[in-house]
């Protein structure tokens, strides 16, 4: 059971319904060949990096599917080649890391760095919010500590300025 991913670019000149029906025909074709569709990503209208057939934009679709043997791929690619509405297509077999990556992407774990930071920040903020509620009594102490810390910081700043 291999997992594959096919990305294709649909001609943007077609009307919205036609574009959708084009994508749907290929989804149907894939399912008809006994494949199990894992995910369909409509990446939407995008600017092309270079013109294809005098078009400067394209509608991107990405279908991820599982299939026991890869014989249907040649059929599918033949259909892509014959179809004038398809500007580009690319089929790729995903290795285990690719499968994991796509799963994570769907679950919003990728864009990792930003997401991680956000979640960490969120955690910190909740911690901050939670902290004063729990520690109502030692609050003045914290303030004193902050006050004590402040002059030190100021002094440090002054030092660095002197330098």
């Amino acid at each position: 059971m291999n997992q594959y991913e096919v990305t294709f670019v649909v001609d943007p000149v077609l009307s919205g319904d036609e574009i959708k029906s084009t994508a749907q025909t290929y989804i149907d074709l894939i399912t008809k060949e006994g494949a199990e569709i894992v995910f369909t990503d409509e990446m939407g209208l995008k600017q092309l990096a270079y013109p294809i057939k005098k078009r400067t934009t394209g509608v991107y679709y990405c279908i991820e599917y599982k299939v026991p043997n890869g014989e249907m791929i040649s059929k599918m690619e033949l259909a892509f080649r014959r179809d004038e509405r398809i500007m580009r297509f690319l089929t790729v077999r995903l290795d285990k890391f690719g499968v994991k990556y796509n799963e994570d992407k769907r679950n919003g774990l990728i864009g990792k760095k930003r997401a991680d930071k956000k979640s960490k920040d969120a955690a910190k903020e909740t911690a901050r919010k939670a902290a004063p509620v729990k520690k109502q009594a030692p609050k003045p102490v914290q303030k004193v500590a902050a006050a004590a810390a402040a002059p030190v910081v100021a002094a440090a700043a002054a030092k660095s300025e002197e330098e």
Binding site: V9, Y50, M87, L90, D95, K100
Partner: protein, 88 residues
């Protein structure tokens, strides 16, 4: 007596020393490179859309190959240009 912090240099002593390059894929445990993500791939190509050498990116050979493949796939799908000028 002047303490160590007060010593000033006429020139920046850090200028000569080069920062050690590293493979970001190995360091951060990135195992898969997505060809559909142009922003990420843009880090590995120059202004003309050429793949940067390992000498500059510091990638390990395994991941440099994967980067190259991903860039080529992206080019085919018009996500990245084959030739460009002032890409960045």
């Amino acid at each position: 007596m002047a303490s160590r912090d007060d010593i000033k240099f006429l020139s920046n002593p850090n200028i000569g020393s080069q920062r050690k390059k590293y493979c970001r894929f190995r360091k951060y445990g990135i195992r898969h490179i997505d060809y559909k993500d142009p922003d990420f791939l843009l880090q590995f190509i120059n202004e003309q859309g050429k793949v940067l050498p390992r000498r500059i990116t510091g990638n390990s050979l395994k991941y440099q190959r994967k980067v190259a493949t991903a860039v080529k796939r992206a080019r085919h799908l018009a996500i990245l240009p084959y030739v460009a000028d002032l890409l960045k």
